[in-house]
């Protein structure tokens, strides 16, 4: 007991000490996981906890910022949130790791964690284990980025399991505010669920004149409209390829849902064009979307050659002017001809200031997460220039991405860690138009990503938290039949 107490005393004294190991010799770059070396973090983000991967007998990590100094012992470096706040309040942080080797202490090369502008406090995503057909355990969760708290917005386990299954997807907010949110439920008790002005509603947006229920959404930034794609989606599996599967459309159109009229109208529905992924400019006067041309729309079913079909689908980027007052549309313009460079562009996302468009470029098709060559590209909407965002991209798939409300942060999905599990990374847009080194959203347990067997889908920022509980949503969703919508003829050209 005495020995235990003396150890405890030494331990407590050591823990409270803020000094550094004496006589440490200089070493190499430290290897840490996740790689948070020389990154820029939002000033309000949770602490980027990490694991020191080098083999050593002891570890001390020293964080310095201004006159604040924090010392953490051990291989797992978990910085208490209060101390982390003190560090970030002082500006950029210098991190030095000391490793105790057999010959004594080694001071690894210090690295920096720079502190950038604030980020929207919340990010909402869907958690899904990798799968193809079944969806037994899905949930839409909201994470508070300023700490490690996460809550379930809705999980499909909340529906009565005996009656069937639910797929949930495509959550979306209007202008980064959670007081206007929507997501879809497929199959059991299906419909599009809206949370607007404190009220829940559920609609079936399929009409006799449209090919499917609503799929990919884009809230209009100034008026009560939502542009949607309608998709007839299929999927097939690769026999011998880590990319595993191909998801593809056999038909897709664009529609506009007028919330207050409760009516759907067609934006584009050419049979030989597969239109998808709508997104508005911040002024709400232009709609960007992607579309692939097919010479023979019936070819897929007649031949059944799913892989060939999908490989031939190359989506281009288009835009179309819109008058929100009378819902009239202008001419369609080709913005980027991806097909001409044997590529396919998807998920256009425009920065809040309207100057940049971030999109995903891959070899083919509409569903790039499974294509390892999928990368993010950025357009300058002022001069039309285009570049691969090499400072973000990896040799594995980068796909879904969204801008923060202040336009300084992007969050994007990537499979860079293992090619299978999608993780969400953040990156800061510098004044020169280039991004800083991307890093994974901090987790309480540094090894979280290695252990977690779900993928993160569709990360979307919001400034405020969703104000309705999962139980209330569940109770509503599973007890309410979806309302119908009317169909109105297209205005304008």
């Amino acid at each position: 007991m005495k020995r235990f107490l003396s150890y405890l005393t030494i331990l407590l004294l050591t823990a409270s000490c803020t000094g550094t190991p004496k006589g440490a010799v200089p070493g190499t770059d430290p290897v840490i996981y996740p790689d948070y070396t020389n990154i820029t973090v939002p000033s309000n983000i949770a602490s980027p906890n990490f694991l020191i991967e080098d083999d050593a007998n002891g570890y001390v990590t020293l964080f310095k910022s201004g006159d604040v100094q924090v010392r953490i012992s051990g291989q797992k470096v978990c910085i208490p949130l209060r101390k982390w706040r003190k560090l970030t309040s002082q500006g950029d942080i210098s991190v030095t790791i000391y490793e105790k080797k057999d010959n004594g202490w080694v001071m690894m090369k210090p690295f920096d964690i720079n502190v950038g502008k604030e980020i929207d406090a919340y990010v909402t995503y869907r958690l899904i284990p990798p799968s193809f057909q079944t969806f037994g355990r899905l949930s839409i969760n909201q994470r508070n980025l300023t700490n490690f708290k996460e809550r379930v917005i809705y999980a499909n386990s909340m529906a009565a399991a005996d009656d069937g299954e639910q797929c949930i997807n495509c959550h979306s907010f209007r202008n980064w505010h959670a007081d206007r949110m929507q997501f879809h439920i497929r199959q059991l008790n299906g419909g599009t669920v809206y949370y607007m002005d404190g009220k829940l509603s559920k609609l079936n947006l399929k009409t006799d004149s449209t090919i499917s229920a609503a799929v990919y959404p884009a809230w209009h930034p100034t008026h009560d409209y939502i542009a949607y794609s309608n998709n007839m989606t299929f999927q097939n599996i690769h026999t011998n390829n880590l990319e595993r599967m191909e998801a593809f459309d056999d038909e897709s159109d664009l529609v506009l849902y007028d919330i207050y009229k409760n009516a759907v109208s067609v934006i584009e529905n050419k049979r030989d064009e597969y239109e998808c992924h709508p997104y508005w400019t911040p002024d709400g006067q232009t709609l960007f979307y992607v579309s692939a041309h097919v010479d023979d729309p019936d070819w897929f079913f007649s031949v059944g050659g799913a892989s060939v079909h999908n490989e031939l689908l190359k989506y281009n980027l288009y835009c179309k002017s819109f008058n929100p007052q009378d819902k009239s549309w202008g001419e369609t313009q080709l913005y980027y001809d991806a097909a001409s460079v044997d590529s396919s562009i998807t998920w256009p996302r425009i920065s809040p200031d309207g100057t940049k468009l971030l999109a995903c470029l891959s070899s083919h098709g509409i569903f790039p997460p499974y294509q390892s060559e999928a990368d993010l590209v950025m357009f300058d909407l002022g001069n039309g220039s285009f570049r691969y965002v090499d400072e973000i991209n990896s040799n594995r798939a980068e796909s879904y991405h969204s801008w923060s409300s202040n336009g300084r942060w992007v969050i994007f999905s990537t499979r860079r860690e293992d090619g299978t599990y999608t993780r969400i990374y953040l990156s800061y847009l510098k004044d020169d138009g280039y991004f800083t080194k991307p890093f994974p959203v901090p987790q309480k347990d540094p090894e979280f990503s290695r252990k977690f067997l779900y993928s993160f889908n569709v990360p979307e920022f919001s400034i405020d938290p969703i104000k309705v509980s999962a139980r209330v949503i569940s109770s509503f969703v599973n007890s309410t039949d979806p309302g119908s919508v009317s169909y109105e003829q297209k205005e304008g050209k």
Binding site: P129, G136, A161, I237, S474
Partner: protein, 615 residues
Amino acid sequence: MNQKEENKFSVITTKARWVLPVALWAVLSFCSGPFLAKVEERSFFQFDLFWFYDFLGQPAGLLSWCGLFFTQFLHLPWLGALIWVLLLTLTAELTRIVFRISSKYALLTYLPAAIFTGYNMSMGYLIYLVNHPGFFFAPVLGYLWALLSVVVLRRFTKPATSLILILIWGFAGYYIAGVYGLAGVIVSAVDTAFSDRSRMGRILPAAGAVAVFILAPILFLGSTTYCLSTAWTLGIPDSIHGISLARMQLPIVIALVLLALAPVSRIFGELSDKICLRIQIASIVVLLAIPAFSWYKDRNFKTELEMIQAVEELDWEKVPKLFDQLAQDHESDPSWQPTRIMVALKDLALIKTGQEGNLGFGFDDGSMQQNTDNKVQMSMQVGWILGFHYGIPGFCQRWIYEESMLFGWSNMTFKYSTMTALLFGNTELADKYLTMLDKTIFYRKWAREQRKLNRDRSLLATTAPYDLILPLLCYDDVVLADQEGCETFIKRHFGGPSPENSTPLYDRVALYFAIKSKDPTLFWTRFFLYLESNNPHKIDRYYQEAAYLYSSIQKNGLLEALPFDDQVKDLYNSFTESASKFGPMNMEEAKMKFPANLRHTFFYYYYYVNNIKLF
């Protein structure tokens, strides 16, 4: 009852109380090993805090975690069975002690144990559908929790204290053990009601138990993601859609009701010797009858499990032997057919040992339906096994992921995911899965061996099972739909265009699938590719038979050109002679009429093995 008679009862009871568990352990260990091992394969337990906290997130999560902890020991069926029997004995003995049940009626306390055993051993194909981590042990552990509740709550006799404690213990119990936590406080309240207490001493605990029963599930609803309708059955095994909830939950509810009746037993007092004896005998009969009648005893199912286990052990020689043994046992039964899984695994094993050309049609074929109301897709049972061993890792991965989405991860899905990642050359992904297996007791060693391969992939070419899979990966990746089922998908894969750089092994497998398709055009294409790449010293028997049959039908001049064995020619002549003698008939009639040597020919397969339903 005099001393002598009391001793007589005591002897019967004592003997039965020890003989029955030992007998149960022996039966489980020696007759149900593959079933117990399958339960373990389909579960996963690792010593990891992150994983543990995940279970703590939901009420009854801890119970599942404990259930999984014990399930891992079923890896060694004798050990798992021993733990199971010890837990059952513990529940019965504790019930007897806690409720002071006379040793004359002690056998009655084993009734829940019999129900739990019958429940588990009646599952059969349901083990592929049950969707509850730790389902095998969780009910017994929950039952123990309920008993513990009585022990703890009985200590507090003051009505107010008792009420407060019931509320605290009840809510905590629901969080720890779900419905068993609720059962614990209810049994405790019943126990109190039958003990010598004041009126308030009886009413308050009962009111507390009712409050817990109603409020605890509602209280936890806000912080959980389960469905409201399952809140009062949380902790009782569930299944994926289509299985009657009564089938899954009724036996356990009956066991809990029996537990609640234990305190009531006091009111019976002393019964006559005659009644006592009858109760003793009835108890033994019921204790034996419940497991005996509910035990799932389908030979095909058992053989499937044994064959799968042999595949897991890469004991390819054993797989067809198990099939053959079962077929011989049903030699005189024309209605018996193998299941498609048995046929598929037998074919796979013959291919792996290079015997498919000489033994492939030496077994009865068929597509017997599973003996269950709840059909299990073949892909859910062996989809990833076939996909992996036939060198279609994408298909293997597809079924692993569907499985893990529906039922959570298991030792098997981690194992096959690791091996698939190794085939794909994705070292990071293999490492991720190996990290999970590293933290298990029984797969740690395997994980260490695979880690060596992950560090040096050149070792794959000389390491089983990869050595027989890598040569099958010579084809160009394609994208296919697999809605038609597992076998059709594999058949279609090998029936596609021949790879430019096909290997001898690939050509052999493709030829075997071609011959099974009864498509002469496909056969000839594959046959000549096989001859070219394998350059066999002697053409395998069944390929000769197919070539001889098709040449005879097509009159293409190959009868003279190919070196057919005399035995093949003789068999063909005998077969045609018999066939013309017997006339047209269906598969069952043909099985009875043709002798085994003619039945096990390609000619017989071509003409009489029809109406096989592929899955």
